[in-house]
């Protein structure tokens, strides 16, 4: 089976500095893979490289079958990135922001209303300016954009940050629903308890690279605690690339 993400010795630079210095990573369809590592290890850079926002200059980087070394833009409409920032316009309303984000990425407007309803953005919230929202509400709007777009690959960078307990539960449910629909999720989170419960596999990142000294850990197989894990027919990573503990 073709991996959704396939990185081999991937190197990316920001200015003269290598932020990725040899990443080897395979992520297969319908997997939830957690990137773990200390601050500055390179987790966010891996997510941005997968989204085509950070150019991989050496090695191999393929996402959804597209060669990101040759053309990082080619994959963007098929991935969704929930990052530290929300990418929302303060002066637009919640509904305007969703409408623009979905239409700009070639999606259908019909997905906006159900996404708002799912994230509890109802009542006066759709007509409220984003500038007037709390940090948690902004996070929910950004999440609603992701749900309305429903991309093939979800890239989540500290997705639980800023959310209360109920909305963290909702986020976890959205992720498991997405995987159930055949989506693939790569996330980075310091919320160990929640992230471990969510992920099917854990990859350790250190110094801008996947750490070969720490084997990948398979948290659970398909049908794990949340009902979703790596597909049972997904091949394991290549020997020497990652290992399942």
């Amino acid at each position: 089976m073709e991996p959704v993400i396939r990185f081999r010795s991937a190197v990316a630079l920001v200015g003269p500095f290598p932020v990725l210095a040899g990443v080897d990573l395979d992520v297969y369809p319908s997997e939830i893979v957690l990137l773990e590592g200390a601050n500055g290890a390179g987790k966010t850079s891996i997510l941005r490289a997968c989204a085509g926002l950070l150019r991989v200059v050496a090695g191999e980087a393929r996402v959804l079958g597209r060669d990101l070394v040759a053309d990082p833009r080619s994959v963007r409409r098929r991935v969704g990135l929930l990052g530290h920032s929300t990418a929302l316009y303060d002066d637009l309303t919640v509904a305007d922001n969703l409408d623009f984000a979905v239409r700009a990425s070639g999606g259908e407007r019909s997905g906006v209303a159900p996404a708002m309803a799912r994230l509890g953005l109802t009542g006066r919230l759709p007509a409220s300016r984003v500038a007037s929202l709390s940090a948690g509400q902004r996070r929910r709007v950004a999440l609603a954009v992701l749900v309305a777009r429903d991309p093939e690959l979800w890239l989540l960078d500290e997705p639980h940050a800023g959310l209360d307990a109920d909305n963290r539960d909702l986020l976890d449910a959205l992720v498991t629903d997405a995987v159930g629909r055949g989506r693939t999720v790569l996330l980075a989170s310091h919320e160990r308890h929640r992230a471990h419960a969510l992920a099917g596999r854990i990859v350790t990142v250190a110094g801008g690279a996947t750490d070969p000294s720490v084997p990948d850990r398979r948290v659970r197989d398909a049908g794990g605690p949340l009902g979703f894990g790596p597909r049972s027919d997904a091949p394991g990573p290549e020997p020497g690339v990652s290992h399942v503990a």
Partner: protein
Amino acid sequence: MWRDALLVAGKDLRVEARSRVTTNQVVPYALLVLLLFGFAFDQDRPVLAAVGPGLFWVAVLLCCLLAVQRSFSLESSDGARDGLRLSGLDGGGVFLGKAAAIAVQLVVLEAVLAFGVVVLFGTHLADPLLLVSTCVLATAGLAAAGTVYGVMSAGLRVRETLLPLLLLPVVAPVLLGATQAWLAAAGVVAGSGWRWLSLLAAFAAIYLTLGVLAFGTLLEDV
């Protein structure tokens, strides 16, 4: 590309309509600039009437800087630029959309400023066709060049000071051509003002083409 341009222009204009920065801040600023010019030349009313077209276009240039900075500050807040890149919108379409939104704001400003130079300076504006044609071409050139240099400076910490430094020398031909055309329309200088329109048209064509071709790359690299 055209669909993307309409989408981006609609978004930028909706942001302006909701924030009212243009109507509540830039328009009063433009009128204030005209008033200050008026104070500086007040003792010589004929001179004021004669230099009115030049002062008009200097005020438009200053407002253009504000409009461009505002347009790109929208994209630099809270990762909006990454959102725009991630959407996969066509670079040329984003350029045309942002330039069109800036142009619409400039047209509104020019209408207010033209009224201002007539009332405050006593400038006699004749030949409306020449005036409007000049405004259309000069606005297209200013918006296009402003958008190109706006994206170049947008990712930098020194963008507020760098943008005027980059943009003002580049748009000097627009200031020259538009002012000369308006001076001819006002009867201050002899000769046809229409010949200056070819300069304005060439400037607009160059920067519109450059923007459509290069904006996507500039959005990525800066």
